[in-house]
């Protein structure tokens, strides 16, 4: 039962990220470079549930993000799968109980994911996103801040028995 609850929460989080991503894109396309809801969900899930959840969430979220971009399908999927798995694996080995530790941890993996995506994009399209998307430099910071906050909130709710 708790397992079903966790999975339904994860799926709900993914759907929410999907809606938020669409909404941010509608408000201003540059906003999705600053706040990436898919990255937030992948790393939060990886920290909370571990590598398998991080891996599967990485694949699902990455492919959803790819659906919003017209070019090669799978670039974000690959980078999120890899970083989601690694973030989940390392999160089980490290003590991430404090906000600052979680922030640093999420920052490193968000940077890894973004670097992978940018490198793959540059290799395939022969064009660097680093010169076209100024907000991209801030994405790891905003992602790690929001991931740390989300995990903190989740653990607080978990103690109260609100979430599984």
């Amino acid at each position: 039962m708790p397992r079903i609850r966790s999975w339904s929460m994860t799926i709900a989080a993914l759907l929410l990220a999907f809606l938020l991503y669409s909404l941010l894109g509608a408000i201003d396309p540059a906003l999705v470079m600053l706040i990436n809801p898919f990255a937030m969900v992948v790393f939060s899930v990886a920290i909370i549930y571990g590598e398998i959840a991080g891996l599967l969430m990485g694949t699902a979220a990455g492919l959803l993000q790819d659906a919003f971009s017209y070019g090669v399908f799978g670039l974000a999927g690959f980078s999120f799968t890899m970083s989601g798995f690694l973030a989940g694996w390392f999160s089980q080995k490290l003590n991430l109980n404090s906000f600052s530790k979680r922030f640093f941890f999420a920052f490193v993996f968000s940077l890894l994911q973004l670097s992978l995506w940018v490198i793959l994009y540059a290799l395939i399209f022969k064009k660097s996103l680093l010169y076209t998307q100024p907000f991209i430099y801030l994405q790891p910071v905003t992602t790690s801040l929001l991931v740390s906050g989300l995990v903190w909130l989740f653990r607080k709710w978990q103690l109260k028995g609100v979430v599984g």
């Binding site: 991503y21 669409s22 509608a26 398998i52 891996l55 994009y121």
Partner: protein, 277 residues
């Protein structure tokens, strides 16, 4: 080890998914101009969501406006905006028509049919990886939108052309700032011809102007020449911001497009080549 146990092994699963993505990526490279099946499916599935999100956002924006403004003022404003939109498009096209057709009667005849040849559309999304490449509009083949129709902003400046995939109510627009784009252009002052393409970073440049040529003036206005038979002649495109001919046999002519990405809410799809009649 049974297959189920193999799937449950996290390292096997991770390896399988990495491989899956690598195969997925390599099956789409090298890139061609044709859309992949995956892209088409993705477009059909997700463009309605983008449309909903854009509609939701517009609803929030308009609700806020309604609170802050008086209702009748807003209505009047909407009406005027719509009127202004069509008038700007008409003015832009009529200026060209005037050059071609001096006869008054012909102008009057054409004026009546002009409105039916413009499809007003709203931009519902952009390519999120690089928003200078493509935009999505809320008009599709049910609104008579097909591929390769010119698209202008509300001031009549060229923003791009429609491209595949075109679904029932949504279509992709390749922006002139995209590397995929190619527009036959001419400079207004010295009539320099060239092909305008995007740099993928918000600017455009004109290709194939010989370095030995003395044509090309900084600050000169660029408009479509109509030679590509996709874009009608005379649509305003942008202004030359720099010219250099240091290396290679061609000049590097950088153009700042007139359209502003952040102001692209309402656009006009030109149903047919309006100046060719």
């Amino acid at each position: 080890m049974s297959f189920l146990r193999l799937v449950k092994n996290k390292y096997f699963l991770a390896g399988f998914l990495f491989l899956f993505h690598l195969i997925l990526i390599s099956s789409q490279v090298p890139l061609g101009s044709r859309q992949t099946l995956l892209e088409k499916i993705g477009f059909q599935l997700f463009s309605p969501v983008q449309k909903m999100a854009a509609a939701g956002w517009n609803f929030i924006k308009s609700s806020y406006a309604e609170i802050t403004n008086l209702a009748f003022l807003r209505q009047e404003n909407q009406q005027l905006k719509k009127e202004n939109f069509f008038l700007t498009q008409e003015k832009q096209l009529l200026t060209q028509k005037l050059r071609l057709y001096r006869a008054e009667k012909e102008l009057t005849d054409n004026l009546a049919s002009l409105r039916q040849k413009i499809i007003p559309a709203s931009v519902i999304g952009f390519d999120t990886a690089n928003f200078y490449r493509t935009a999505i509009i809320n008009r599709g083949y049910e609104d008579q939108v097909v591929k390769n129709l010119p698209v202008c902003d509300k001031r009549g400046n060229l923003i791009g052309r429609t491209a595949e995939p075109v679904s029932a109510h949504e279509a992709r627009v390749v922006l002139i700032t995209s590397e995929e784009s190619g527009v036959a252009v001419i400079s207004v002052t010295d009539k320099m011809l060239g092909i305008l393409t995007g740099d993928g970073q918000g600017k455009c440049y004109i290709k194939y102007v010989m370095a030995s040529s003395n044509l090309g003036l900084q600050g000169d206005e660029i408009e479509t020449s109509g030679l590509d038979r996709v874009f009608p002649p005379g649509l305003k495109v942008g202004r030359i911001i720099s010219i250099s001919s240091e290396k290679g046999m061609f000049k590097k002519i950088l153009v700042q497009p007139y359209f502003d990405l952040r102001e692209l809410e309402l656009v006009a799809v030109l149903k047919e080549n309006l100046t060719e009649r």
